[in-house]
């Protein structure tokens, strides 16, 4: 079902993405503890990212974490395209398109008018 040519890059994305995301969240969290405040509470992502400081770092880490599955599907689509596996490539592109649509919709709805 899956060969090394596809499994290895996907595993690398999964491992690397998780590591980067968790590291960024951890750094932001420690900086927040050092700052000693309570943080902004529930905040939309766009406002959080532009707020700067510890909470922006935590927000960025959480965002990177949620983007890992999207990148995985993109890598799979590329792998299927290279090996000319048409039906799997189409399924990957459909899933990727839906994930991108989900992300775009979330950004558009939350963006200030």
């Amino acid at each position: 079902m899956i060969d090394d040519r596809l499994g290895s890059p996907i595993a690398r994305v999964l491992r690397g993405g998780t590591l980067v995301a968790v590291t960024v969240v951890a750094v932001g969290y420690v900086l927040g503890l050092i700052a000693g405040d309570d943080g902004p509470g529930t905040t939309p992502m766009l406002a959080l990212l532009t707020s700067g400081g510890a909470d922006a770092l935590i927000g960025a880490g959480l965002l990177v974490l949620t983007l890992v599955p999207l990148v995985v599907v993109a890598v799979a689509a590329i792998g299927f395209a290279r090996s000319a596996e048409r039906s799997d490539m189409l399924a990957s592109l459909l899933t990727l398109g839906l994930l991108v649509a989900s992300l775009a919709t979330a950004i558009l709805i939350s963006a200030p008018a």
Binding site: M1, I2, D3, D4, L6, G7, S8, I10, A11, L14, R15, G17, T18, A21, V22, V25, A26, G28, Y29, G32, L33, D38, G39, P40, G41, T42, T43, P44, M45, L46, A47, D55, I58, G59, L62, L63, L65, T66, L67, V68, P69, L70, V72, V73, A76, D88, A91, S92, L94, T95, L98, L99, A101, S102, L103, T105, A106, I107, I109, S110
Partner: protein, 271 residues
């Protein structure tokens, strides 16, 4: 700081149970945050979805590398779960908290029932899965020979699983594992590892809405996510050393207790 420590420990617990039992961990994170820390349900669900992604990506990295997960199937069914998760995440923003609590309580009872039934089945007859799914790639040498079928039936099921995930902040594995195993005919272990890949994709689709709508508190989410990552690694390391029957028994007791608490909250009590 003590509250942060408790949040991190809750994440460790949820991550460990999630990894040990093949669940995303959201089934525990949502009730822990709402009942234990008085966090609003939508915030708990959003936080849980991010944690589900963390447990999924961590475990999937190993399973995909080892050739234990059917990535093609995960991505194909992922289209259905993503649609369901998008719908669920939008609906969750409009549903009253009591309704969400009631739905979550019902999901917990179903989860407990499914786990007890699985234990009974494995106790009454040796599973043929054990012969099917060795530690090798689905197409590698010595790999299980299986063909999945009934994709047309599985797609609506995956939409339902995604809907439950987006609505209630769980991975949806409690639906996708039986779907892949019982409906599509894949071996149990392949079903669990494939579902694990799927729940990350599904949870991401739901998490975007919660993240950008502002339903996640970064200072609350950070210790829980970090705890979940540690717990999931611990759980994965311990998974072959613990007796499943005791683990599932403990889990079922906890889940039923939490279901009762969530049920009381749904009815309007002070649990």
């Amino acid at each position: 700081m003590p509250i942060d420590l408790l949040l991190a420990l809750s994440g460790v617990l949820a991550g460990a149970f999630g990894a040990l039992l093949g669940l995303g961990g959201g089934i525990l994170i949502v009730p822990i945050l709402t009942l234990g820390f008085d966090v609003p349900l939508t915030t708990a669900v959003g936080t849980s979805l991010v944690c589900v992604i963390a447990t999924s990506t961590g475990a999937a990295a190993f399973n995909v590398r080892a050739g234990l997960a059917d990535v093609r199937l995960a991505i194909t069914l992922g289209a259905g779960t993503v649609v369901g998760a998008m719908i669920g995440a939008v609906i969750a923003g409009f549903l009253p908290e009591r309704v969400l609590a009631g739905l979550f309580s019902a999901l917990l009872v179903y989860t407990a029932y499914t786990m007890v039934r699985g234990l009974r089945r494995s106790a009454s007859a040796p599973s043929d899965d054990d012969q099917d799914d060795g530690p090798s790639s689905p197409t590698g040498r010595g790999a299980p020979s299986y063909r999945t079928h009934r994709l047309a039936l599985a797609i609506p099921g995956s939409v339902l699983a995604g809907n439950v995930s987006g609505l209630l902040g769980v991975g949806g594995g409690i639906i996708t594992v039986p779907l892949i195993h019982l409906v599509m005919g894949a071996p149990m272990r392949i079903s669990i590892t494939t579902s694990n890949v799927m729940i990350g994709i599904t949870a991401a689709a739901g998490a975007y809405a919660y993240l950008f709508r502002g339903d996640i508190d970064p200072r609350l989410a950070a210790p829980v996510v970090l705890g979940v990552v540690v717990g999931a690694a611990f759980g994965a390391a311990m998974s072959r050393r613990l007796r499943t029957v005791w683990l599932v028994g403990l889990f079922v007791v906890v889940v039923l207790y939490v279901a009762a608490q969530m049920g009381v909250r749904a009815i309007g009590g002070s649990a």
